[in-house]
Amino acid sequence: MTAAANDVMQKVAELNSGLKNIDATLGTVQHALSTMPPAPSAAPTLASLIAQSGSSSPDTPPKVAFPVNNINGGHFFNVWLSNAHSGWQWALNLPVLKQLSGALVSEKNRPGVDYAAIDMLNLPGLVAQAHQVKGAVTGMSVAGMFMKSDFAGGMVNIMSHVSGLDMGSAKTSVAAAVAITGLAIGDFIMVSGSQRVNGKHDAVVEKIEQWRSQAGTGWASTVKGWAAWGASKIYEPQAKLSPATQQEMDRYRQYGGDAPHIPEKDIPAVRAVADSLVSKFNVPYAKSFESAVKLLSLEERDPNRLLSFLSLRCLPSTWVQDYGLSNKTFVASDILKPKTGQGRFRNWGPDNDDLSALSLQANNALDFYRDHGGSQPTLPLQDQHIVREVGDMLHKAFGATDYQKIDLAIDLLTHEERSPSALIEKLRADGLPGQWRDKYGLDSAGVRLSSNGPA
């Protein structure tokens, strides 16, 4: 167990111990509820329903059964509904569901979060397909735990009663929606997060556009639409600058003079860049807006593209003095290079085109590692994106994990093929040669790096 994991588990143990201590000293909610006055109607009281559910373990929250014949009112229903709403409010605050609810439920359709939830999940059309993916859902431990929670049970109950579905269908639908949506968006965000580190903003945006354009009503299209929407909130959070602002920036770039005036509608985009400069590069707040305007005018006109580059923290060294970035959080790098002839401004981009050779320094480091062994060398930044290209290939084609792919790429470049482009071609054409499987501890079902490294 790592030190960080150890720390997490220690905090979890403290939390569990605290919960048990509260149960021991103050009693559980069930005990407290025994003081409630009887309900005014003939409907079953909350206390009696909780007692019927038979949950007495201090570790298990009381399970609340929904009174099927009493959906329209009564003391218990109101209490239960307030709890369900509280649960929904929480669920809707989870980033994934928040994005979904914002995308799919209009304001006028939100008289109550329960109905909004029904709209959000498009329940009737979902059921048939949800059953087909049940196997995938049951494989997800976190989604499974979510479904065991009281408020997930509340979601199922609401869906069942409002939509008229049987409980099994409602439960499967909720689980499928939560798990698949979470998986689709989470997976894409993780992959695109890695791409963002590579500076491949353009590739991610292209993928989003591709998904967005795949119109359709099927479940797969819907998930892609959600994922594209979620990812676009990360990759394209800001609107493009207006033509008037762009003209002002052109004027400033060509003739200098006063900094461009930014109209009100473009201020959020410029402010977002400025905030990124403040948070990531310690640019003083008072100067951040001016620096952001200059960066947008002189270097990269697309605020979303610029935000992605800033998230790299690996930028051309000239930006330190030109825009007042702190060199404490800054790594000078050749990953981004201006591409000439591709627009009115400098149009920075990752220089991933040339994969033919590693730098002399990297070659020397790999030679030393090959001849003397020891721990893997740390390659210069200018070579790291090349190694990552090879690693990504191993990840996509052979299932290497994020942990393994870079180590494995370095080993293959060290011992098998020093030219990255030739190595990629070889992997693409032939797959992993049989002898590599043994040598590097790989197997056909996926990649497993031997703990002993290459022979």
Partner: protein, 112 residues
């Protein structure tokens, strides 16, 4: 802790629990599946208690006043205090378990 403070605290704890559950589900962490599951179970347990107790406390306050709701409020206060004390530390620990990329940057931005 007055009622406003209490429910502000409960809401913050629920949001923090949701954020941590989401991070456990989707962020790249060095925790094992078992460690993630154990942590998520504890967080689900705490958040379920907070959600249930706060709903009941509100109902009790509406029906019997603050004094009458005191038994439920006492339990809720204890849970809120526990959450206030321990959740920030747990969140820090989870963040420290984030997998760090080659640039030394933890890829947690999307989950925070």
């Amino acid at each position: 802790m007055d009622l406003d403070q209490l429910f502000t605290s409960v809401r913050a704890a629920l949001e923090r629990c949701g954020q941590m559950l989401d991070t456990l589900a989707f962020a790249p962490l060095t925790l094992s599946a078992q460690e993630k599951e154990q942590t998520a179970q504890t967080l689900l347990g705490l958040s379920e208690r907070l959600a249930l107790q706060s709903g009941l406390a509100l109902q009790e306050v509406a029906e019997t006043g603050v004094a009458g709701a005191e038994p439920v409020l006492a339990v809720l206060r204890a849970h809120a205090a526990l959450a206030d004390n321990l959740l920030p530390g747990l969140w820090d620990a989870i963040q420290k378990s984030a997998i760090v990329d080659d640039f030394g940057v933890a890829r947690m931005e999307a989950y925070a």
